[in-house]
Amino acid sequence: MMAGIAVSTTINGDIAEFLCHPDETLLDALRDRLGLMGVKEGCGTGDCGACSIILDDRLVCSCLVLGAEAEGKHIETVEGMAQGDTLHPLQQKFLEHAALQCGICTPGFLIAAKDLLAKNPDPTEEEIRFGLAGNLCRCTGYDKIVRAVQDAASVMRGA
């Protein structure tokens, strides 16, 4: 067993424990220790949002969090969005609107959009664009992502 810090956390509703180095980011711990490959590394410096997760109800870049900081925290990643074979409305609408091409940014966008809609179920286009400004996409030009989030929001409101 490696020497390291023992971290006990809840990920997508399940208790998860891992050991990590003191300087290891939560991004690396989620991917390399727990196999949660939906958390992507883009820039590694908090600029692109590809590693976005929800940490105790706050949207954060997991590259700017140490693994050790996750002790006792609740983490949500893209892996927790679908229920069995049923996609989350955001995932479904991203598919329908073709709101992705290469897909590297997509898990971060999905998690950021989930956080946005949890706090603002009926956002304007401007609120979506500002709310997702911390997530970069070099393929889509953002329009399809914004449409997908608007459509998902309306489905989630039952409208």
């Binding site: 300087d23 590259c63 400004a133």
Partner: protein, 296 residues
């Protein structure tokens, strides 16, 4: 490297004072982890202060507000009383980074990172905010502008930690505002920025003023001449012109990728006459580029 999460400020100060190698304080981590990733800093010890209960809250008292060092900027924006009293301070804090960064970054971190372009610092300076510093020899309170002494450098002594930022109760007929110029509206860093705090009398004449500029010198700049021009005026067009000239004359900017010295000196803080509070525009009068935002 070691990672320690003390539960009391005394323990944190003890760890910091006894550290043999490089010790770094971790609150939001949005500067520290980036510097570690880039190899600019290799701490032997990281002291995570987020488990210290006293540092994690905003407290409002009869004297004003106490903002703990570990409070994320997003929480400042969610505090209705703070937003009402110090909209400029909250605006500056809310402009740092993305939503992801907002959930982590702190105003004390922004202050101690000591970037000349730090968004939250000019408004804190204009508001007369103070930093409550704790160290092995006790505590001291200093004006926030005394903390950064140059790019990346602070006046904190070995073993010292900023515990909180103190903001007075806002006086009647007073207001603060913060404005920055950036080519983009989000995810950008100020080319130049300005913060102002004013107190008016019943006739609308300025009784007290404080003007601070960001990204205009190695540290945030308090422009005394600008305040003197404002005091006694009704902030008419002539006053604004003299205010702009005083600010241009006071700033000592650099050329860098975000703007040239010439461009930075030309940027003006424009305050529509007749308006007692924001909107404030930062505008380059030559080419009409401007950025503005409302209080949302």
């Amino acid at each position: 490297m070691r990672y320690i999460r003390p539960s009391s400020l005394e323990d944190a100060i003890g760890l910091l004072a006894q550290a043999t190698g490089k010790a770094s304080i971790l609150a939001g981590g949005s500067d520290l982890l980036v510097k570690m990733k880039g190899g600019f800093i290799e701490p032997d010890l990281i002291i995570d202060i987020k488990a210290i209960d006293a540092l994690g809250h905003i407290r409002e008292s009869d004297d004003g507000f106490v903002i703990g060092a570990a409070v994320p900027c997003a929480v400042l924006g969610e505090n209705a009383a703070l937003r009402r009293a110090w909209p400029g301070v909250v605006e500056g804090a809310k402009l740092i980074g993305s939503k992801q960064v907002q959930g982590r970054c702190t105003i004390v971190g922004n202050l101690c990172n000591a970037s000349p372009a730090a968004d939250s610092v000019p408004a804190l300076v204009a508001a007369g905010a103070k930093a409550l510093i704790r160290g092995p020899d006790g505590s001291r309170t200093v004006a926030v502008e005394m903390v950064p002494v140059g790019p990346g450098k602070t006046s904190l002594l070995p073993g010292e930690i900023i515990e909180s930022i103190l903001l007075d109760k806002r006086l009647p007929n007073s207001g603060d505002a913060y404005m920055r110029f950036t080519p983009r509206t989000e995810m950008d860093i100020a080319v130049v920025s300005a913060a102002i705090y004013l107190t008016l009398d019943d006739q609308g004449i300025v009784q007290f003023a404080r003007v601070a500029l960001g990204a205009a010198a190695p540290t945030v700049l308090v422009v005394e001449e600008a305040a003197e021009i404002l005091i006694g005026s009704r902030v008419d067009d002539g006053t604004l012109e003299r205010l702009a000239q005083a600010c241009s004359a006071a700033c000592r900017p650099i050329d860098d990728k975000r703007g040239t010295i010439e461009f930075r000196k030309k940027l003006r803080v424009c305050w529509p006459s007749g308006s007692r509070s924001p909107p404030i525009n930062v505008q380059d009068r030559n080419d009409g580029r401007h950025s503005s935002f409302d209080d949302n």
